[in-house]
Symmetry: C2
Subunit: 160 residues, 2 copies
Amino acid sequence: MGEFDREAQIEELKARLEKYMLEQGLRSTSQRRIVTDTFFDSNEHLSIEELLALVRETDPKIGYATVYRTLKMLKEGGLAYERHFGDGVARYEVAIEDDHHDHLICLDCDEVFEFENEAIERLQDEQAKELGFKLKHHRLDLYARCMRENCPNKKRRSKK
Amino acid sequence: MGEFDREAQIEELKARLEKYMLEQGLRSTSQRRIVTDTFFDSNEHLSIEELLALVRETDPKIGYATVYRTLKMLKEGGLAYERHFGDGVARYEVAIEDDHHDHLICLDCDEVFEFENEAIERLQDEQAKELGFKLKHHRLDLYARCMRENCPNKKRRSKK
DNA sequence: TTAGGTGCAAACGTTTTGCAACTTG
DNA sequence: CAAGTTGCAAAACGTTTGCACCTAA
């Protein structure tokens, strides 16, 4: 999971997307380019609404149905993952290959931290096999109380 | 996680609920008793709609707002856990203490299996600590492809 | 030229809420 | 009898869709 060559990763994502769109006969419109570029450039777990706000900084006329539809496309193309952290809003995450990670959500401020833990991953595989399954993907969210000095200690993310 | 003395566990749940309701000045109505009893007796991951159907076998006049409100109460009192498995419906699970388990969801038939894995639990604690957090709870869902002979291999759970 | 995309507003399905009538403590 | 609860229907919420117009290929 390189922070180093993020640029290169974004280029790779764009190439994957282009390939996918070609295969599917999908078209490259200015709206789509703005939405996907904005999304790929962001490094967070954006909701549709948050992404729409960013997108509209570039083109205020883009409608939210377009953002929904574009993220659906990315999801189906395997370029975005949809996440639900319990606040009732779908959040999307750029699907950078070889960058699997899980989430720790701070119960004080709702901030989301990412981590990787190979040992846990391995045990999950084993656990699935034990039950007679082949693990395809998983989701692990840790909800934890903060021990940081500087934790804002208040909810920053509202329901809407 | 005893299957053996399930009765006793239900009694304990009812006691905890009674205590919680007293503390909070909440009232014990016949509707609430039916909803909570039905819920505690069930052993599954029920949606509101499914629970409402069961509840109406006892009292057909109970409205669905009551079920929503009662489950919200159970959730806030720590007696029920809300789960989302990706089909857009909240499902609820009885919060039996010392019966923590995670879920494996079959990608072929949507069936949900429960498992416990102490090693994974321990690693999660360590992982949180490493990030400077005290783990409060977590959620681990494994999505896996079935290797069973008898897997119905078709979606059984519809969107609604 | 035509299959596909956009933006709007309406529809959707789940969940929440306002309110008048009714219970519980 | 005061405070909490119910059931209904309406509202709210995030998301999806129908449609007339537009645009990329």
